[in-house]
Amino acid sequence: MKRRLFALLMAAILVFSLAACSGGSDATEPAGTEAAGGTEAAEGTEAAGGETTGTIKVGMVTDVGGINDQSFNQSSWEGLQRAQEELGIDPVYVESHQDSEYATNIESLIDADCDLIICVGYMLADATREAAEMYPDQKFAIIDDNSNADLPNVACLMFEQEQASYLVGIVAGMMTESNTVGFVLGQSTGPMNEFGYGYVDGVLSTNPDATVLQYNANAFGDAGLGKTAAKDMITNGADVIYHAAGGTGAGVIEACAEDGVWAIGVDSDQNHLAPETVVTSAMKRVDNASYDIAKAVLEGTYTPGEHVYSLEDGGVDIAPTTTLLPDDVLAAVETAKQQIIDGEIVVPATQEEFEEKYGPDVYQLDPESAE
């Protein structure tokens, strides 16, 4: 019996090793996964061994959302992949699964001799500061954080997300028939609320009588909660709902599609999620920012400090898909866009700026107003 068991195990090992060998031989074939293609895997391996001259290695640390988060981690990585195709840089990423791993992962990239390390998200601010102070010759970039702007080796990539939100707010304000629109937020933080201030301002600028139903889901990955929140808003009369809530927003779009009301996407052009429902999206071109900073390091024009991306330079924008937008709405958006670029309209980005314009009760998701 004992011998038979042993033989069985050995047989299993043989089978597996055979399979592993045959699998190994076609390792160069494309993997077909979108985030990490097989051809890149081969290149990555090569570069891990020795430095190739004339190119740079760019490392990226994700936050706990991971590389396929449909949000800024993914977008930033897409920017680096584009830089790989067009500029020949060598990008790598490390995924963080827990908050405590940021420092370790940054260190792994330093060990891998990266010329630039991009930290995605304000959650990495402290870890970035520590690493930047410890390794003054290492170039860093961080997305959505400007607390490290004082350091000589950190570029802070910031976005005027309230401007794009303002534009989709105009769309919502003009397209609503019930005079009730909705907004689902992923988390009530400074940068996240910029989406809300801009949106509400945009809605009210074209439709002062509109009601904006607001909900803080306090989650970026809970599609079920997003759906419930959106259904609730639809029951209360909302016929356009904007989300700034990552994966939670997928539920918002689903609810809108089911009930035949408009949804507005965020970060990237989300029209492909529901082509008849997602009327527009507020784009945040994290990919462009990552691409630009990698290019700057490659060309030797890297500068630390704050880099602000706005409507003017295409860092934020309204989605290119406009098939669902009536001409008058599109015209109003284009006008507003130009006015923002020219400085005729200043969109509020902070609680103070917003309350100065509308008073304390209009926007309900401020962290303090929860008390």
């Binding site: 019996m1 004992k2 068991l5 042993f6 195990l9 299993a12 090992i13 597996f16 090793s17 399979a19 592993a20 045959s22 699998g23 190994g24 390792a27 160069t28 074939e29 494309p30 993997a31 996964t33 990490a36 097989g38 890149e40 895997a41 990555g44 391996t45 891990a48 706990v64 959302g65 790598v92 990423y93 490390v94 995924e95 699964h97 827990q98 908050d99 405590s100 791993e101 420092a103 370790t104 992962n105 260190e107 792994s108 990239l109 060990d111 891998a112 304000y122 959650m123 601010a125 402290d126 954080d145 607390s147 988390q187 933080t189 400074g190 940068p191 306090n218 970026f220 990955g221 962290p367």
Partner: protein
């Protein structure tokens, strides 16, 4: 059963076989996905062993897992499946965080105080569940899973509290006071890793304590009796309910201290969770791989921690770090299968 067990029947041997098979299965998956398994495993192994700092990091990653592994292993002995270790871990780190931030004391008092708070919080969290099971017969697996989520949102609620929230931009608590940290002296950390800490020594102490409780005390004997056969234990005059309550309290305390060791050693703050961090679930794998034996748990915790750290580097060669989960999952799977073999064999013997 004969006393001289053959090498093929020993847990250690079966576990090693399971590990080898798991790496082969991992290689199979890598091959299918178009990666060269040899390159991936070379990166994994050099990511763990090629520098002293990497080894030190592996130990740092392993420490909380040893605690949670001990917690789950301890509850297994009584036949309770502590799937709630995740929640106990979270409340443990919450308690340690509160004490670590608001109490001002010299390290010699501050650190034990943090651990005590974490142990009590974890014990209470575990005891509520076992109390409900005993009092009202509520299925402990269900309530533990729900308690994991209660702990999860409680922690997020805590982080949002202005008194404890970070002054910076991060959605996290303030950092715990330096006097509560368990870091090794600066000179040693320069050689090892920046977050190398005393946690591993504390873990070893608890491995010994748990071993003694299980093997050398009446409580341990009673717990094991309840685990083997509840009715027989009751017939023999053992207080089954009391044994389960005690076991869950100790199990919870161990998981809670795991939270403390992670916070005071490596994390230094609690961030707003976007999803469960999963220490508790990793602890279940650690306990299973370690055959619920405290010493086995120590080694399987080290193994798991090293894989977890080394696995994070697989991204560097564009390979999926999830392959580590495939490997550990397969190990657990094959260990479970080996138990099936044993049962089948025993049945056959009984028949013949």
């Amino acid at each position: 059963m004969s006393k001289n067990k053959s090498i093929f029947q020993s847990h250690v041997f079966l576990t090693l076989i399971a590990i080898v098979v798991a790496f082969l299965v991992g290689a199979l998956f890598l091959g299918i996905m178009g990666y060269n398994p040899i390159t991936v495993y070379t990166t994994l192994i050099s990511g763990i062993f090629s520098r002293p700092r990497y080894l030190a990091y592996s130990v740092v990653y392993a420490t909380p897992l040893i605690f949670v592994g001990l917690s789950v292993a301890f509850s297994f002995k009584t036949g309770v499946f502590n799937i709630g270790a995740e929640g106990q871990f979270v409340v443990g780190s919450m308690a340690a965080c509160i004490v670590g931030i608001f109490v001002d004391a010299p390290p010699i008092i501050h650190v034990p105080l943090c651990f005590l708070a974490a142990a009590v919080a974890g014990a209470v969290w575990g005891s509520i569940v076992s109390f409900m099971k005993i009092k009202w017969g509520i299925n402990e697996v269900l309530s533990m899973i729900m308690f994991n989520w209660i702990a999860f949102y409680l922690s997020n609620y805590l982080v949002e509290n202005p008194a404890i929230h970070s002054d910076g931009t991060a959605e996290a608590t303030k950092n715990v006071a330096d006097s509560a940290r368990i870091l090794l002296p600066e000179s040693l950390r320069a050689v090892l890793a920046p977050t190398s800490n005393y946690g591993i020594l504390i873990a070893i102490v608890f491995v010994v304590i748990v071993y003694i409780i299980i093997e050398k005390t009446t409580l341990g004997y009673e717990m094991k009796a309840v685990g083997y056969n509840k009715n027989a234990a009751e017939y023999a005059g053992i207080g089954v309910n009391k044994a389960i309550l005690t076991a869950m309290a100790i199990s919870g305390a161990l998981a809670g201290m795991g939270g403390a060791v992670q916070l005071l050693g490596m994390g230094q703050r609690i961030s707003l969770f976007a999803g469960q961090e999963g220490f508790g679930f990793e602890g279940i794998s650690v306990a299973l791989i370690g055959a619920s034996n405290p010493i086995g748990v120590f080694f399987s915790g080290m193994f798991y921690g090293a894989l977890k750290y080394g696995g994070s580097k697989l991204n560097l060669i564009q390979a999926p770090s999830e392959i580590v989960d495939v490997i550990t999952g397969t190990i657990v799977f094959f260990i479970a299968i080996s138990h099936v073999f044993k049962v089948v064999r025993r049945k056959k013997k009984e028949v013949s």
